[in-house]
């Protein structure tokens, strides 16, 4: 994976295997946002904390719409990563895309870490030191996205 700037855009270049893997991850990111349990948006306790009912409903609505937007974005990005017998795949991102990608990628890393109870010790292990293919795949995703984020952070808008 390489990264450089061109005509105000951030250009990522991937080997086909990297593009394929990232495309799979983006598919899972979209699916997770689409499958998000509405229960996580229930807003319990906000009323007792002094929030007006209309503010709670507006907050719930904002979260739902944000999740839907993120799912659409992840699916749109997958189209940039189609592997068609090329030596490498190029994906041009706007600076705004870079900021959004960082959010989605980090959301997914945090989701994986929470869902699979990833610890600090796990994070420090080499992949072949982990037990189980599922756990290795999860840690590979977490580290792959972290590597992409490290490459993209210098280009992220503040």
């Amino acid at each position: 994976m390489q990264i450089h700037l061109g005509k105000g855009r951030v250009i990522l270049e991937f080997f086909p295997a990297e593009a394929h893997f990232l495309s799979e991850i983006l598919g899972r990111i979209a699916q997770n946002y689409e499958d998000a349990d509405p229960g996580v948006f229930n807003g319990d306790g906000l009323g007792e904390s002094g929030y007006a009912e209309e503010d709670v409903e507006s907050w719930r609505q904002e979260l739902r719409e944000g999740g839907d937007d993120n799912a659409r974005l992840a699916r749109r990005w997958m189209a940039h990563l189609r592997v068609e017998n090329m030596d490498w795949i190029s994906w041009e991102m706007t600076p705004e895309d870079v900021g959004r990608f960082l959010l989605l990628a980090n959301d997914h890393r945090m989701y994986l870490a929470r869902h699979f109870q990833v610890t600090e010790k796990d994070m420090a292990l080499e992949l072949d030191e982990l037990e189980g293919d599922d756990r290795r795949t999860v840690l590979l995703e977490i580290h792959f996205l972290a590597h992409m984020m490290e490459l993209l952070l210098p280009f992220a808008p503040l």
Binding site: L102, L103, N106, D107, R109, M110, A113, V118, T119, E120, D122, M123, I142, A146, M149, E150, L153, A156, L158
Partner: protein, 98 residues
């Protein structure tokens, strides 16, 4: 661990927290095993408008001491920072100054 109100670097302090009715709310960021150091610095720079050095000092405080108080504000502003930091995937809580 030091008390949250005595971080390595002074947090963002609102001029409105001097009101007697509201001593202010601390925005606390907590350590976690997954977020990278450079991402945490980026979030502090983006959300709190810290310069890189200050963001790095608070990131290191989170990393080494487990938590850092990054802002001391009135409730409304503290909630805004809290929501924005959570939205970026960091562990963050609010604590009322007693």
């Amino acid at each position: 661990m030091t008390r949250s109100g005595s971080p390595l670097e002074s947090p963002v302090v609102s001029t409105q927290t001097g009101k007697q009715t509201d001593p202010g709310w601390e925005v606390i960021v907590w350590n976690d095993p997954v977020n990278t150091m450079s991402y945490v610095v980026y979030v502090f720079m983006k959300v709190l408008r810290f310069d890189r050095d200050r963001a790095t000092r608070h990131m290191l405080e989170v990393h080494e001491r487990g938590r850092s108080c990054v802002a001391l504000e009135n409730r409304e502003k503290a909630e805004l920072y809290h929501q924005q930091i959570l939205r970026h995937g960091l562990r963050c809580t609010l604590e009322r100054v007693s």
